[in-house]
Structures are given as structure tokens and as C-alpha cells.
């Protein structure tokens, strides 16, 4: 039996029951990566020696009675390469950080390690998490394991592909405008973006600080809930991390949606949406109804303004966040310069890719004097309207249902030539980030090309448990899910 096909919780149970040792799990995972990563290229860095050593250690600790309350102890995990791992290079898939070794671990990495996790490698992504295809990575593209001619989505494409290809039992991604949910949809796996402030951002290399949130990508809803149990919670090092205590998301794993009120924003089924996806979502709605939920379409305010507002705010913050990569302190520095201005100019010109440059320039522009009110301030107002729209919807509904993306995974090389079109692909995901809400993407079928279709369930602020329950209930009706 290929043990890499097990879910994370199944593997955790087998390790706990001594059916499989941590070393066996780690070796099997490394072997799998060795065999299939040449085709998919999910990883930027594979931590072979480190993972083997760590596996031995975790096994001993388990035998000594540690990690009793940790269902994922000993299970290998993949971490997106914008999350700091002490002494292990963390590149953000950018040339400018090609050699950056963080002197500290991200809060989520500490939490994973405290739960007995074994980090198996750092996954590929769009450079600085800017992109929807993982094609902007300095370290090369990742192929969609469902069909290698197609992109895995992005920006957490490496994490989603690794889970889809059984190159990871589960993975961490980050989601600023859909970067966990969209690649999860494209690769046919389950990914969750928690409420802003649920998971500490300490150690996450910032793209857009007010929107970024780390979350799990896994083989099923239960695994996502289990991972979220581990990584969520208050962290004194992140002022915006407002979560208190433990939430016990796994408690919400119940196959019961009777009486649950589910709303479908009409704007999420309108023009621009692939017909096959529309059918899939409506079929999912029917499934929910059959299981006793009440499903209703409604008008969500300001849907059309979400993308421009998102790109203004995210780019503005990015232009500031990425200014520190200047060749002075760490990372890439140009080889040839006459003065300080040249160090900056050449380092940044040579070190950043086009999509990152584009967004930094948009960001610098919308913040510049004379344009601030017209763009940045207006975008903040739109953000407030979008938030209010969701608040109104959640007075009526427990959960919102819609597609994760307007299409299934595009073919490689199709997207980057037309960035505006690529940005439009974020239509159903960005407003969730602007409103700071939790959302999960899970598979709900395939299109005629056999590519996975993802559906999205959106919850109210800290309403993770409702969407976990809805997603878990839906998952039970699907065949072929683990």
C-alpha cells in the first residue's frame, strides 16, 4: 500500500497506534517527492536530512509520551516558501531572497513543531505571493498534478499541488486574495482561509499586511480543521492576531446542515462564470437542500468593485512591504554599482520579477501625493462597503455558497500575457479578504476536461465552525473523497 495517499489524520492515527513509524512516513514522503516532483515541481527546497533527523526525534518523543493531544504528531507537512523557517532558506520564490536564511521561525512553524510536525520542504509559489498561477516563481513553474499541461493556480500553487500529488499529507499556504482557495480548487484539494486575526502572521513575509492570512491546504475538510486547531490562536508578536484561546475547530466536524441558512450571491453566478462550474455550484446547492439546509439566492452589495479595491489596497501595502529588499542587509545584491542609488536601482531591477514590479509601481502610484484620495482612500471606502454588505448578508444567512474561481485551471502560459484578465479570475475570492472573513474551498466535481471544480463556502467573522460543518456535510455526499 502507498501510505502517502493517506489523509493527514489517518497517518497521524497510524503513527499514534505504532502501525507506522514517523521515519517510515517521512521516508515514504521523501520517496514520493523524489519520484513525482520532477513532473510537478511543487517544492523549492526539500529538507531530506532535516526531516529524517526530525522524524527520529519526534518518534522518540511520541514513545516518551509526548504529543498525546496532537493528532498530527509525526505527520510530514509542506510549508509555503513565504513562511520563515529558521536556518532554512525562505525565498518567496524570488531572486531577491534566493539565499535568505531567516534567523527565526514563523509563529505557525513553532506551533507545528510543538504539535510534533515534521517539515518536509518549502513549496513553490508565485513570487511574493503575487499571481494566480505559480508561473511568476523565480524557481520555475509548478504543474497541476491533475493535468500537467495546466497551472496549479496560485499563489500557493506548490502547496496545493503537493497535497494533490500526495507529495505532502497537508500543507500551509497563505491567502491574500484567494491564494489558498483558488489553487485548492484548481488542484482538487481542500483549502481554508481563516478569519483575519485567527492565525499569527509573525514570520509570514508580508505581501499585503491587512489581508494576508495563513491557512491549511489538505486532502479533506477534517484535516483542514485539525491543522487549524494547531496553528490558530493568540500570539503576542502579532498585534492584529486577535484570536483568544483555542477554538477546537474539529468539534465542528458534524454531518448535519438541517436548518442551516445558505445564501448564494447572485453576482457570483453571473456573467464570466464558466457554465460547467455554474451547474456544479447549483448541484451543490441542491445537495445542501436535500440534506435539510435552506438555500436562497440574494444580492450582495459592491461585488463589482471588489477587484479594483483589492488591487489598489494590496499593491499599496506591497509597495511599502517590499521596499526593504534593497540589497543592503540580506538577499540578492547587484554585483556592479557606483553609488547607493545604483545599489537600490540595480538590485531591485534585477531581483524582482515583472508581476512584482507591476504591483509595486501600482502601489507607489496610488499612495503618491495627489492620488492618495482618488485611489487608496476610495479603495478603503469600498472595502468598508463590501464589509457592510457581508454583515448584512450574515444577518440572514449562516453561510454563503459560490464558486471559488470563474474557470477551472487555465493552460500553462495563457495567463501572464494578460494580467487584467488574470486579476478578474480573483472575483469570487478577494472580497472575502477585504472583509476579513473565513472561507473554505473544496472539490465539487470536475469539468468535461477532467479538471477539478472548487466551491467556496464563506462564513461570518470567526464563523469557521459553520463553514467547516457545511463543508464536511457536503464532503460526505461526494465519492472518491478521503
Amino acid at each position: 500500500m502507498d501510505i502517502t495517499t493517506l489523509s493527514a489524520l489517518e497517518m497521524g492515527r497510524k503513527i499514534k497506534n505504532r502501525e507506522i513509524s514517523v521515519a517510515e512516513a517521512v521516508k515514504a514522503q521523501l520517496e514520493k517527492i523524489k519520484v513525482s516532483d520532477a513532473s510537478y515541481h511543487c517544492y523549492i527546497t526539500v529538507l531530506e536530512q532535516e526531516a529524517l533527523a526530525r522524524g527520529e526525534k519526534v518518534q522518540k518523543l511520541i514513545e516518551a509520551g509526548e504529543f498525546k493531544d496532537s493528532p498530527l504528531a509525526g505527520v510530514p507537512v509542506a510549508v509555503k516558501d513565504n513562511i520563515c523557517t529558521q536556518g532554512v532558506r525562505t525565498t518567496c520564490a524570488s531572486k531577491i531572497l534566493y539565499n535568505f536564511n531567516p534567523p527565526y521561525n514563523a509563529a505557525v512553524v513553532e506551533k507545528l513543531e510543538n504539535a510534533g510536525a515534521v517539515i518536509i520542504g518549502k513549496t513553490n509559489m508565485d513570487e511574493f505571493a503575487m499571481g494566480s498561477t505559480t508561473e511568476t516563481s523565480y524557481f520555475g513553474i509548478t504543474n497541476n498534478p491533475r493535468n500537467t499541461e495546466h497551472v496549479p493556480g496560485g499563489s500557493s500553487g506548490g502547496s496545493a499541488a503537493a497535497v494533490a500529488a500526495d507529495e505532502a499529507f497537508y500543507a500551509l499556504g497563505s491567502d491574500t486574495g484567494g491564494s489558498i482557495r483558488q489553487p485548492s480548487a484548481f488542484c482538487g484539494v481542500t483549502g481554508m482561509k481563516p478569519t483575519y486575526g485567527t492565525v499569527s502572521r509573525y514570520g509570514l513575509l508580508a505581501y499585503a499586511s491587512s489581508l494576508d492570512q495563513i491557512g491549511p491546504i489538505a486532502k479533506n475538510v477534517s484535516d483542514c480543521a485539525a491543522v487549524l486547531d494547531i496553528i490558530s490562536g493568540h500570539d503576542a508578536r502579532d498585534s492584529t492576531c486577535v484570536a483568544q484561546g483555542a477554538y477546537h475547530y474539529t468539534e465542528a466536524l458534524a454531518d448535519d446542515v438541517r436548518g442551516m441558512k445558505i445564501g448564494i450571491p447572485k453576482g457570483y453566478l453571473g456573467a464570466g462564470l464558466d457554465d460547467e462550474i455554474r451547474k456544479s455550484i447549483l448541484a451543490a446547492a441542491e445537495t445542501f437542500e436535500k440534506k435539510g439546509a435552506v438555500v436562497q439566492e440574494f444580492d450582495l452589495d459592491a461585488v463589482d468593485y471588489a477587484i479594483p479595491a483589492y488591487y489598489v489596497i494590496a499593491s499599496a501595502e506591497a509597495s511599502s512591504n517590499l521596499s526593504r529588499y534593497d540589497g543592503v542587509k540580506y538577499g540578492y545584491r547587484t554585483g556592479d554599482f557606483e553609488n547607493l542609488q545604483e545599489v537600490y536601482k540595480k538590485t531591485r531591477s534585477e531581483g524582482f520579477g515583472n508581476e512584482v514590479k507591476r504591483r509595486m509601481m501600482i502601489g507607489a502610484f496610488v499612495l503618491s501625493s495627489g492620488y492618495y484620495d482618488a485611489y487608496y482612500n476610495k479603495a478603503l471606502k469600498v472595502k468598508a462597503i463590501i464589509k457592510a454588505g457581508f454583515d448584512k448578508a450574515f444577518q440572514k444567512f449562516d453561510v454563503l455558497l459560490g464558486p471559488t474561481a470563474p474557470s477551472t485551471a487555465p493552460r500553462l502560459g495563457e495567463s501572464l500575457s494578460d494580467p487584467l484578465k488574470m486579476y478578474l479570475g480573483d472575483i469570487y475570492t478577494v472580497s472575502v479578504n477585504l472583509a476579513g472573513l473565513p472561507a473554505i474551498s473544496l472539490p465539487c466535481g470536475t469539468d468535461s476536461k477532467g479538471l477539478p471544480i472548487g466551491m467556496q463556502l464563506i462564513g461570518k467573522h470567526f464563523g469557521e465552525k459553520e463553514i467547516i460543518r457545511a463543508a464536511y456535510s457536503f464532503e460526505q455526499t461526494q465519492t472518491g473523497n478521503k
Partner: protein, 475 residues
């Protein structure tokens, strides 16, 4: 020549006297080997986040209250973006849109005239690092120790009209901050820095002239010189029919002149926007009340109290309260030994003299109240006379010695045995018949000579009063 009026506003940066930095736990201590007072947060390593030091907010509020400002109870931090190697995040966390204090004023007095200098705002921000040029290696090194040290920037209204007013305002501000314990205000260490915005206009003109901003003055004297220099420069330009360029200038105190650093056209667009890594600061009524109740006594109150509680003259109270350090030593010493007027004299006369000789500021005083109190005790117990006391005080001032031990070790105690003194005086009378005669013939001065001779014989270790009494007795 037309007659001109000078219009001056100041931007004062004061480093706050918190133990740790504004967004991390690193020490704010001055000095230290380069890059030893820093961590991933204050060096802006990727992925790190700021966590606000609550004390910074409390200090800023305390300063605002003392300057009669309105406190912004819902305030925020903003990012000021620019590239420079001393700024590791390439932005400074500061406040633009909602500064913590607004709209206050400070009363100053120059030449007997009182006047209020308006405070436009006070905001909190982080300091940058320091660039050090290494001439041997011909390279520039960065020291991040100062990165993230908390600052408040106090922005005045353009209400000052002369260098005297500027200095009076700065003196007043410095005292307020020192009394609050908010900043030690050491200009040499850069914990108090002032930028001068100055313009001139014809007397009676309604509009302000074009202003320049002057940086890099590291003493009040330099500031006064810079104000004077810039005033003259601008008037001269106007007199020759030239225009004043809005620019930032750098004062060179050695050359007594300033140089243009950058003009308005080169001015950076800082692309301010709200800092997303910090949550807005909510200052509750309760918190504000707590800080109000904790406000220490400021100088004006202290002066009044000194006159009534310690019964010392207003003149003394003015000088002693003119430095927080002096006032602290005064109060501590009096608490130990009483005798406020005596203590005040030691501070006003001997301490001031020694400070002047050593070219020191009162803030740099190192002796302890305990040793000054012991010295006063020795005098009042009749153990030493004033001449010896002055000698001993110099040692206290220099190295904070314990005067009791010092007097004992050096054998400086007064001889209080009347028998010994009497026999010495008898010898002096026998040896100086001429003076004795003079005295007996009514020349009071002659007595002083005999006292002096006795004192010399006693090597200074006698009570002059006692000598006087015995002499008169014997004569």
C-alpha cells in the same frame, strides 16, 4: 533697509526614556557596541511585526497634557516610506493622519514678557539607525542600535519671533519633558533634536514669507546662532531683490554658516498610509484619567512649593528648579538633613561654580544627595569648618566620596578641645605683640589677623568662632 520680522516654528524630536524600544524588547540604552541593541524586529527582518510599547503612548500623552494639548483618544500609526540604509524597513512608523496630541501651547518668558507658543501637534514615531563613515576602508557602516528607539516629535506653531524666544521655548520644553521623566533631553547624545523652520517678512505683512528648514544643531547655542545666521541670510537675499528658495539647510556650527541640503523640488513623496501591522490605539477615559493623576509636579508648581514649604527665596527656587536634576538632589538632601537654605547654598554656589569649571550641565551631576547631606551634617555638628567643607565638597562633586570617612581619613576634623586651642592662642599672642597692641588700641582688624594666625597654626582645623571667643577672652 526695510524692517523685518522673523517667523520661527520648531520641530523638536525627543527620545523617550523608556527602557525598551517602541516595537520590540531591545534596550534603548545609549552607546553600546554597534548592532548589539537590536533584534529581527527593529532591524526589519522579513516577516517580523511591531508590537507597541504601551509606555510610549503614556509618555506621549503625559507630554501632551503638560503642553495643554487635546489627546486624540482614537489614534493610529502611519508608514512614512523612503529609502535610506539607516531605515531597515524602508519606512518609518510614524503618525500623520491622527497624531496623539493636538492643539496645545506652552508659556514662555523673555525680557519680562510672557507669551504662549502654540503646539500644533505631538506625534509618536520610531528613530532610525546611524550611518558611520569609515574613512580607512572608504565605506559606510550602519549601526542599528538606535533603530526603533521611541521618539515624540513636538511641532510648534510659527509663533516665535527671535532667537531668544526659541531658546526660551526650548528651555521650557526641555524642563517639562525632564520633569515628566519622559526624556532625558541630552542634546549631545541626540536625545533632543530641533529643526528650525524660519522665514522673514516685512513688519506688518499679513502673509508669511518663504521658509527654510534648518537641521543639525547640537546645542542651544548653535540653535541661537543658526537662527541669527538664517535670519540675516534671508534678509540679505530680500534686500538684494533675490528670492528665498524653500529648502532644507544643514547648519555647520564650526563654520558658523549653513548649506542647502535639498530643495522642495527634490523633496520626497513619503507615500504615507495607515500602518496595517498595528491596530488603532484606543485611549479610554479611564486610562487618560490615570495618566493625568500620575502627572508629576512641574516646575512652576515646584517653585511655589519651595518658597512656602522650604522657605527659600524665589531667586534660589528659580535656579534650583531650573534643572530637574538639581531639584531632585535638593529635595532628597533636605529630606535627609533638613536645612533647606544651607543645601540650597551648596547647590547654587559651589555646585554651580564647579559645573562651570568642568563645563558640565546639571544633568551630568554624579554626586549623591546622601553625601551632600552628610557634609551638611558635619558642618552643623561642628566637625568641620566651612573652609574644610569646601575642600571636601570638591571631592564629593568629583567622585561622590563619603565625607564622613574622608574627613576621618584625612584628619580634617576641627579641634574642639578648648585647652589645646587656648594654649596655641596664648603662643600667638606672645609672638605678635604689635597686633595685640593695635587691637587694644581699637583696631578691630588686628583681631582678624590673630584669628588667621591661629587657624594657620591649627592647619585650618579649628572653629573660627571659638578662636574669636578665646582671643577676646584672653585679650
Amino acid at each position: 533697509m526695510k524692517s523685518y520680522e522673523t517667523v520661527i516654528g520648531l520641530e523638536v524630536h525627543a527620545e523617550l526614556a523608556t527602557k525598551t524600544k517602541i516595537f520590540c524588547g531591545c534596550t534603548t540604552q545609549f552607546g553600546g557596541e554597534p548592532n548589539t541593541h537590536c533584534c529581527p524586529v527593529c532591524t526589519g527582518m522579513p516577516g517580523t511585526l511591531p508590537v507597541l510599547n504601551k509606555k510610549v503612548v503614556e509618555f506621549a500623552i503625559a507630554a501632551g497634557l503638560a503642553a495643554n494639548c487635546t489627546i486624540t483618544q482614537h489614534c493610529k500609526f502611519d508608514r512614512k516610506n523612503y529609502f535610506y540604509p539607516d531605515l531597515p524597513k524602508a519606512y518609518q512608523v510614524s503618525q500623520l493622519y491622527l497624531p496623539i496630541c493636538r492643539g496645545g501651547g506652552i508659556e514662555i518668558e523673555t525680557g519680562g514678557e510672557k507669551k504662549i507658543v502654540g503646539i500644533h501637534e505631538i506625534h509618536m514615531e520610531e528613530d532610525a539607525g546611524k550611518l558611520v563613515h569609515d574613512p580607512w576602508e572608504d565605506c559606510t557602516l550602519v549601526d542599528y542600535n538606535r533603530c526603533g528607539v521611541p521618539l515624540i516629535e513636538i511641532v510648534s506653531e510659527p509663533d516665535m519671533r527671535s532667537a531668544d524666544e526659541v531658546i526660551a521655548y526650548l528651555e521650557k520644553l526641555k524642563l517639562i519633558l525632564q520633569y515628566l521623566g519622559v526624556s532625558d533631553c541630552k542634546m549631545q547624545e541626540g536625545s533632543l533634536r530641533a529643526d528650525i523652520n524660519l522665514s522673514v517678512r516685512e513688519v506688518g505683512a499679513k502673509e508669511f514669507g518663504i521658509r527654510t528648514e534648518m537641521k543639525n544643531m547640537n546645542s542651544f547655542k548653535a540653535i541661537a546662532r543658526a537662527v541669527e545666521g538664517e535670519r540675516k541670510r534671508q534678509i540679505e537675499l530680500l534686500e538684494y531683490g533675490k528670492v528665498i528658495v524653500q529648502e532644507t539647510r544643514r547648519w555647520d556650527d564650526n563654520k558658523d554658516t549653513s548649506f542647502a541640503m535639498r530643495s522642495k523640488e527634490d523633496a520626497q513623496d513619503y507615500r504615507y498610509f495607515p500602518e496595517p501591522d498595528l491596530v488603532p490605539i484606543e485611549i479610554s477615559d479611564e486610562w487618560l484619567e490615570e495618566i493625568k493623576n500620575r502627572q508629576p509636579e512641574l516646575r512652576d508648581e515646584k517653585m511655589l512649593r519651595y518658597e512656602t514649604e522650604y522657605d527659600i527665596p524665589a531667586y534660589d527656587a528659580d535656579i534650583i528648579t531650573g534643572s530637574k536634576k538639581l531639584a531632585d538632589i535638593f529635595e532628597e538632601t533636605v529630606a535627609l538633613c533638613g536645612k533647606p537654605k544651607e543645601v540650597s547654598n551648596w547647590l547654587m554656589v559651589e555646585t554651580m561654580r564647579l559645573l562651570k569649571e568642568a563645563e558640565m550641565e546639571p544633568e551630568n551631576i554624579e554626586f549623591s544627595a546622601a553625601n551632600l547631606a552628610r557634609l551638611v551634617g558635619l558642618i552643623y555638628d561642628g566637625k568641620i569648618n566651612r573652609t574644610v567643607a569646601k575642600e571636601v565638597f570638591e571631592e564629593i562633586f568629583k567622585s561622590d566620596i563619603d565625607p564622613v570617612q574622608y574627613v576621618e581619613k584625612k584628619g580634617l576634623s576641627m579641634v574642639s578641645d578648648e585647652g589645646i586651642l587656648r594654649s596655641v592662642i596664648e603662643k600667638i599672642i606672645a609672638a605678635n605683640p604689635a597686633s595685640v597692641n593695635d587691637y587694644r588700641n581699637g583696631k578691630e582688624k588686628a583681631l582678624g589677623f590673630l584669628v588667621g594666625q591661629t587657624m594657620k597654626e591649627m592647619k585650618g582645623k579649628a572653629d573660627p568662632g571659638l578662636i574669636n571667643r578665646i582671643l577676646k577672652d584672653l585679650l
